[in-house]
């Protein structure tokens, strides 16, 4: 994996980083299998170059964009974010990438666009999980954000971690990072960005609507039907720590949900 030039930023919680080994070998990426070790084992099949992203829907500049046209590799920054999985474990990861807002501005969403939807590659030839008969999810993997969430300063498009390109199992070559939402919102290996005025369908919500909502903000007060979300296990630690509202990013994001009942819009 190539080293990527980047600048440091103030996005750093000052917490111990989760070791590279854990970040790249303990993954959920069902296109490569449902076991935590399956992605690192199988994702070598993924061909990440050349890569293009289709931009469509309510935009003035639709089209197929080469990765390099979307991401300015000379402007990469490093951001260290907490990642809280809906399964009640967490990591601290140094990502490399660019804010999503800049990329979206480049592709000119129309003023009527209220949401942005994303899709992951779904290729049976490269992804053993996609051709499996027992599928938990409907492919392609879909995620989405409200436009204000997408434009929030925290929302990030990552192309690398730990100073290097993204390993395939972490969503190479381009993935979303939304640190105040459960990890599954941070969609991997993006091939499509779609602007719409309706709340887009999202994969886990389609699979189990009572368990995974569209918003899926990290919220210790709203438990998952099968487990509490009040605490989490940081990978590498034996004890548990309390889960923070919005994963500790309330100052930057809470205002977007003023007046919303977060138990209803979970």
């Amino acid at each position: 994996l190539k080293t990527l030039a980047h600048t440091k930023t103030a996005f750093d919680p000052g917490e111990t980083l989760t070791p590279y080994d854990a970040v790249t070998n303990y993954n959920n990426y069902y296109e490569f299998g449902t076991g935590k070790g399956d992605p690192s084992e199988n994702a070598w099949r993924l061909k990440v170059a050349p890569w293009s992203v289709k931009v469509d829907g309510m935009t003035d500049k639709p089209g197929d964009y080469a990765l390099e046209d979307l991401i300015d590799y000379s402007a990469l920054e490093e951001r260290i974010y907490r990642l809280r999985c809906v399964e009640a474990w967490s990591m601290v990861i140094p990502w490399l990438g660019v804010p999503l807002s800049g990329v979206l501005k480049k592709v000119a969403p129309q003023s009527g666009a209220k949401y942005v939807a994303f899709e992951t590659l779904a290729d049976k030839g490269q992804m053993p999980g996609v051709k499996s008969f027992f599928n938990v999810l409907d492919w392609p993997y879909r995620e989405g954000l409200r436009m204000d969430e997408a434009m929030n300063e925290l929302t990030f498009l990552a192309v690398g971690l730990y100073g290097k390109e993204l390993p395939n199992q972490n969503g190479a070559p381009i993935r979303l990072v939304v640190p105040w939402k459960y990890g599954f919102k941070s969609i991997k290996s993006i091939v499509r960005i779609h602007f719409t005025d309706k709340e887009p369908k999202t994969s886990w919500n389609m699979s189990a609507p009572s368990e995974y909502g569209f918003y899926s903000n990290v919220n210790p007060r709203v438990s998952h039907p099968r487990w509490s979300q009040a605490s989490e296990r940081r990978i590498g630690e034996f004890g548990k720590r309390k889960t923070l509202m919005f994963n500790g990013y309330a100052d930057q994001v809470a205002h977007m949900y003023d007046g919303m009942d977060l138990a209803k819009y979970y």
């Binding site: 854990a22 449902t34 935590k36 070790g37 027992f134 938990v136 034996f238 004890g239 548990k240």
Partner: protein, 210 residues
């Protein structure tokens, strides 16, 4: 065959099977020892999750293995496998206890209120706990003295609970997994297969053993 005589099975076979049944536990205990000592271990990046799943897998496997003893003795036309049935059943209980200990200790950190909240709120845990509660009287009444005290008829009726416990364990596993996954279904199929073998037996001769 002479080497598989009943006295030999009692004297050598039982300790051997006992030791074999302890292997998964020994693996788990050894790796936890290593993990706590900060030494390299095989529990992966989320040892607690590994521990819960590993102990649960073995609990379910031993339940099914003990359910396989009777059909096996029928296939072999010999009551000898029955010699091992109680031990295997008790190992199922042992691994269920390990599973619960793992969950209570590592996941809940002995938060008893949290345990209760889980039991009443989370259906897969309710199901799992129900299976555990039913398995407990079976383990307690596994001794010869208890069989006598209860009388063979009542004892047998009590021990038919396993036909309910095993599917509950499979359902617990199925519900724990996200969506529709293959692995729990394999266990379910094995259970149904073992039940079908019992069903077939009803027409034929019963193989009986103490």
């Amino acid at each position: 065959m002479q080497i598989f005589s009943v006295p030999n099975l009692r004297r050598f076979g039982k300790p051997l099977v006992f030791a074999a049944c302890l292997i998964p536990f020994a693996w788990l205990a050894f790796n936890w020892w290593q993990a706590f000592a900060g030494a390299p271990h095989d529990l992966g990046f989320n040892p607690n999750e590994t521990s819960n799943r590993f102990s649960g897998d073995w609990a379910l496997r031993f339940l099914l293995i003990s359910l396989a003893v009777t059909p096996l003795s029928r296939v072999l036309k010999s009551p000898k496998p029955i010699l091992f049935r109680r031990m295997l059943g008790l190992f199922a209980y042992f691994y269920v206890c390990t599973h619960i200990l793992s969950y209570l200790w590592l996941d809940l950190l002995w938060d008893w209120a949290g345990l209760w909240a889980d039991i009443i709120k989370r259906v897969y845990i309710t199901v799992g706990m129900a299976a555990f509660l039913m398995l407990t009287p079976m383990a307690i009444t596994s001794t010869k003295g208890m069989i006598k005290r209860l009388g063979a008829k009542r004892w047998q009726r009590l021990h038919k609970l396993v036909y309910v416990i095993a599917p509950l364990a499979v359902i617990h596993f199925f519900m724990m997994r996200k969506g529709f996954q293959l692995e729990p279904l394999i266990y379910g199929a094995i259970y149904l297969g073992l039940m079908a073998l019992r069903w077939k037996r009803r027409g034929g001769k019963r193989v009986k053993a103490a």
